[in-house]
Symmetry: C2
Subunit: 251 residues, 2 copies
């Protein structure tokens, strides 16, 4: 039917999203403590739930396209998305990866500023910007939470800028893997194993490299014993300290 691994089923056009009628259970949502919903009390969450639509997307599906009117915001509950900006000549930049609990909608633009695509079978909660605006004024805690999120993302964006501008491929990849490990962690994982939802090309377009360089860098890290690659999409971190040193991660 549809794949779980990254890939493009039928690039554009297709059923796209499937409504998920039975999924309206915010109170028992697995990612509630991670998402912006954590700012709301039980009864308040229900107000949010009333204006939320739960949707499923197959890997490779496109949620929104750059330039379309910005009509809704999203919270991912499972799977993963990528935010992609593409230049006329095909050069691509993966602005970010969106993991369960993450929120997409911190923008002041009238239009979407990048494509949003599912890199794995995903479920998302969709709320219209109009409803969101209303909820924000109604619940100041929500607005505060959004500001907090925005500041965190801003901090992360500055890190990313340093990485893109000044780090070498090895350092970029080390930094990327550590950041991903930190985000993925807290799920009972031992923490030293990271699953890459995205392909090499996505990593390349995220770090400002080519797929070939990313591949070569992976093998270099493996040869030096900093990581192991039990599977294509699984990285086992064998030397956190060395990786941190590479990434100049002083946190």
């Amino acid at each position: 039917m549809h794949r779980t691994v990254p890939g493009f089923a039928l690039p554009y056009a297709e059923p796209a999203a499937a409504r998920d009628p039975a999924a309206h259970e915010c109170l028992h949502c697995a990612v509630r403590h991670l998402a912006i919903c954590s700012a709301l009390a039980c009864d308040e969450v229900q107000a949010l739930e009333r204006v939320t639509t739960s949707l499923s997307y197959a890997a490779g599906a496109t949620l929104v396209r750059t330039g379309e009117a910005r009509q809704a915001v999203y919270t991912v509950t499972s799977g993963a998305l990528r935010l992609v900006r593409t230049l006329a000549d095909g050069r691509r930049q993966v602005v970010g990866f969106v993991l369960p609990g993450d929120y997409v909608g911190l923008s002041e633009s009238e239009k979407y500023r990048n494509d949003i695509e599912a890199i794995a079978d995903s479920r998302v909660c969709r709320v219209s910007v109009a409803h969101m605006r209303q909820l924000r004024t109604q619940y100041p805690q929500l607005e505060r939470k959004l500001l907090q999120r925005a500041c965190l993302e801003l901090d992360a964006a500055q890190d990313a800028a340093l990485s893109l501008a000044r780090l070498q491929p090895m350092e970029k990849l080390a930094d990327f893997l550590l950041k991903l490990a930190a985000r993925t962690a807290g799920q009972g994982d031992p923490g030293n194993t990271v699953t890459l939802m995205m392909g090499r090309g996505d990593i390349a377009d995220h770090l400002g490299l080519t797929m070939e360089t990313v591949s070569r860098t992976f093998t270099k890290l493996r040869q030096q014993g900093l990581i192991a690659l039990p599977q294509l999409h699984v990285v086992e971190i064998r030397d956190f300290a060395a990786l941190h040193r590479l990434a100049s991660d002083d946190t």
Copy 2:
């Protein structure tokens, strides 16, 4: 006494900041309509004014250092600052330039995440984070304004990421000049003349290039007639369209 042009007087240590006792006139502040203060009514601004300290810094002065406890937020009223992150081996990234009306303080970190330095003689309004926190809860409009700012900066940060990761030197510089022109505009300027408060090295470290490449790129743009350089720190834009085309600026 102190210079108006970029430069490092006495790198570290020195009187640093000079208090400006007579400057407490938020109501008549030239940048009030630009700054976050625009969210507050006249009487509310006075509450802000009561906890604000106006400070002057000479070009080259350092306001805060990376790693120091994040004690205050700033709004620039005149001059310009740069946000700088430096790696152990000296690689430098100018995360951003702060112009009059801009706000520095959108962060969730306990510590400053970059150095803040004056690139010209500057005046800033300083508010402690504690006071700011209090004001935010007291005036929801302020919080909303901050969120708006954060979202705008987030949008800008994504643009910057694309620029750093995928644009070529010519394109990066074109993009930079246009963004700067857009920010500087609205001050009665004809709009086709941009004053560069920062040196070539700062531009280089902002765009992920070397100073030499920036210099070469400036001359290339000049030779092609897209810009003129009447002075070292003044750029006259002669062909907006071509510059936009270079920067792939579809806005």
